[in-house]
């Protein structure tokens, strides 16, 4: 029996100053990463509040990844340090509620790391594909 292949929906929040440019670089260098990744540009990774992550899942994301500047390299000096603490606590809490820990990730990708961006996305998409559809943080109304 032929199963329809599961194509996950991935939301990637990318910092304007680094990983968004990293994504650009990946494109310029013709490095492939899956089309399932939907990039949302943010001015700094710390612009992403926990609600954004949850809302992405509500609206149908199967995985959410947040990309920012490497610690120490924040365009605004310290934004990504706060991101790091917030997401550490949030992801830990989501896992505490029984949400698969593989569904969320934070990755530091600089503007020069086009290759890392593509590799990260490929890896994350593969991970979510293996994990399957997001059932535990879904909103059924959005799936109708």
């Amino acid at each position: 029996m032929q199963m329809t292949e599961f194509k996950p929906k991935i939301v990637a929040f990318c910092c304007n100053w680094c990983s968004y440019a990293g994504a650009d670089l990946a494109g310029n260098n013709r490095l492939n990463y899956p089309a399932e990744v939907k990039i949302i540009r943010v001015p700094c990774s710390c612009r992403v509040n926990p609600m954004f992550i949850l809302r992405a899942f509500q609206r149908g994301a199967d995985g959410v990844i947040l990309c920012g500047c490497h610690p120490g390299d924040c365009h605004y000096t310290s934004g990504n340090y706060y991101t790091r603490r917030r997401m550490a606590l949030l992801f830990s809490m989501l896992n505490f509620l029984g949400i698969e820990k593989e569904r969320t990730r934070v990755e530091w990708v600089s503007a020069a790391e086009g290759a890392k961006f593509a590799a990260t996305m490929n890896d994350f998409v593969a991970q979510i594909t293996a994990l399957g559809e997001n059932k535990r943080l879904e909103d059924l109304r959005c799936k109708k």
């Binding site: 609206r59 149908g60 109304r141 959005c142 799936k143 109708k144």
Partner: protein, 340 residues
């Protein structure tokens, strides 16, 4: 009057559940009773009452009203109403049964709320007398007899048997399906239980509470009463009392954007919330005192003014045990009515 031996009760419930969804109070993992769908092995709770009232069956906390499909400038309205299935609520107490009459006076008056009506028509209520009323009970204040609850069928639980009596045609029809599991009996046991219940009701701490000081004509007596200030002082403005209340029926209508369209749903709302009456250019109740007053004035004055003196409270006592700061309608009545 029909009698079913306690040993046969499971079989009786099974027979009911064959034709309709059957709900009854069941102890949850939190140790409290909640209306739960019956299936084999489910044991009915001994608790006096459920945490949430039975109003949910007819007026659920949220329900979808309609869907919209929006494309460009055009809108398509999709009526999502469906004929609801028959269901039976078993073990409803006298107070909650009365609450349906109160809700009927809101939802079934013209223009009829068809969502509510649909459920009401398909629901059968099996009520149950209260042999162990609690200290928070004051249904008698509103003329409710815990020994004689309404509904379609009334039941009385004794050690060895359950007694059933049909009160409506709907109830008669259901009871006749249970004939093989029940036998005709006299009313001696039930009469004895009724006497016991009334005797116990007499002794309840709130047995003497009356609502005589309230009614539709008492607006000016109470609206500007100075007592509202101290009564509402520590109110948190949460919605607990409203949401556990069997007669609170205010609702909100909201839109939810799904990924493909718009769902318009309604959900319970609370007059205790600060944004209840807020509109684009103002709010006519800006203080918690006003909101607090609205809730109690509505139950004790405004509702009776429009409904031949019937109060909008059934004395179930849920707000007495659930309010985070232990402020409730009994304290309000005593403070205002002066019959402490």
């Amino acid at each position: 009057m029909r009698k079913c031996s306690t040993a046969n009760l499971d079989a009786l419930l099974r027979t009911i559940a064959e034709n309709a969804s059957l709900y009854l109070p069941v102890d949850g993992t939190d140790g409290r009773a909640h209306f739960t769908k019956w299936e084999d092995g489910v044991k009915m709770s001994d608790a006096l009452n459920t945490v949430r009232s039975a109003k949910d069956f007819f007026f659920p906390q949220t329900e979808n009203l309609m869907d919209f499909k929006v494309e460009g400038k055009t809108i398509e309205i999709i009526d999502t109403r469906e004929e609801c299935e028959d269901f039976v609520i078993f073990g409803v107490r006298a107070c909650d049964v009365r609450s349906f009459d109160i809700l009927d006076r809101v939802f079934l008056v013209d223009p009829v709320d068809t969502y509510y009506k649909n459920r009401r028509e398909h629901g059968i209520i099996v009520s149950m007398a209260c042999t162990r009323p609690s200290e928070t009970c004051f249904c008698r204040t509103f003329g409710i007899d815990a020994a004689n609850p309404g509904g379609d069928i009334v039941c009385y639980k004794e050690e060895d048997a359950w007694y059933f009596d049909a009160l409506t045609e709907k109830g008669q029809a259901l009871l006749s399906k249970l004939e093989s599991l029940t036998e005709e009996c006299d009313t001696a046991a039930v009469d004895a239980q009724k006497d016991l219940i009334r005797e116990r009701m007499d002794k309840l701490p709130l047995a003497d509470l009356t609502a005589d000081a309230f009614g539709g004509d008492k607006l000016n007596t109470y609206f500007n009463a100075p007592e509202w200030k101290s009564l509402s002082q520590s109110c948190l403005g949460c919605g607990t009392c409203t949401f556990v209340c069997p007669t609170c029926q205010c609702y909100d209508i909201k839109d939810f954007k799904t990924n493909k369209g718009v769902q318009r749903f309604r959900c319970w709302d609370s007059c205790m919330y600060s944004d209840f009456t807020k509109m684009a250019h103002g709010n006519n109740r800006t203080s918690q005192l006003e909101r607090f007053r609205q809730r109690f004035m509505h139950k004790l004055v405004y509702f009776p003014a429009n409904n031949e003196g019937i109060f909008g409270c059934v004395g179930c006592g849920r707000c007495l045990s659930r309010c985070p700061i232990s402020m409730n309608i009994v304290k309000v009545m005593k403070e205002l009515g002066g019959n402490a």
